[in-house]
Point group: C2
Chain length 118, copies 2
Amino acid sequence: MLNVDAFQEFKDGDVIIREGTYGDWVCVLIKGKVQISRVVKGEKLVVDELNEGDILGEFSFIDGEPRFATASAVGDVRIGIFNKMALDDEFNKLSKEFKEILFSIIKRLRNTTAKLSS
Amino acid sequence: MLNVDAFQEFKDGDVIIREGTYGDWVCVLIKGKVQISRVVKGEKLVVDELNEGDILGEFSFIDGEPRFATASAVGDVRIGIFNKMALDDEFNKLSKEFKEILFSIIKRLRNTTAKLSS
């Protein structure tokens, strides 16, 4: 079981993370489903659906850029929020080579997801 | 500048990493261009092109799965290979929460890239 620092519940349709906003929490989906969508040319486009055990918010945690997509609750949802200070501590201790690998992965993921939704 | 452990040069068309094989080196593209392709329904499909400074091989480094795509040299190419033992050491020291975030990212990246090439 993953250690989480805090919990939060959401109701159907609630926005958990809003595309384009700043934020750097990372959390794990403990209960329920989450819909991931992006606004493309003014239209909402569903790009993914997350299930229990899936992670939310990891793009911005790694690269500090605004939220890439909107995460909304589908039915009752419970998330566990990771201890951000502990994660930051670990991240900061990484070598520049390891960080570069992570940045590269996130850059590629933002690119492929953007291509997918275009 | 990133620290690399070893170098390797390739000529136009050489396969640097072959899709479906096992391997876990991670390297940075120092000189030249690299074409990333996948075989989909028997056809070679170009999914990306990497430039100087881009990272190669990071999917398998994180999740230990076979190589996801083929990387081929476009013209003369020089890569720098990261010290694998040092990277592994860093990876192994990460908390299970941090590792889970990385696994999640790679899983998503494999999914989106597979969708893109289908």
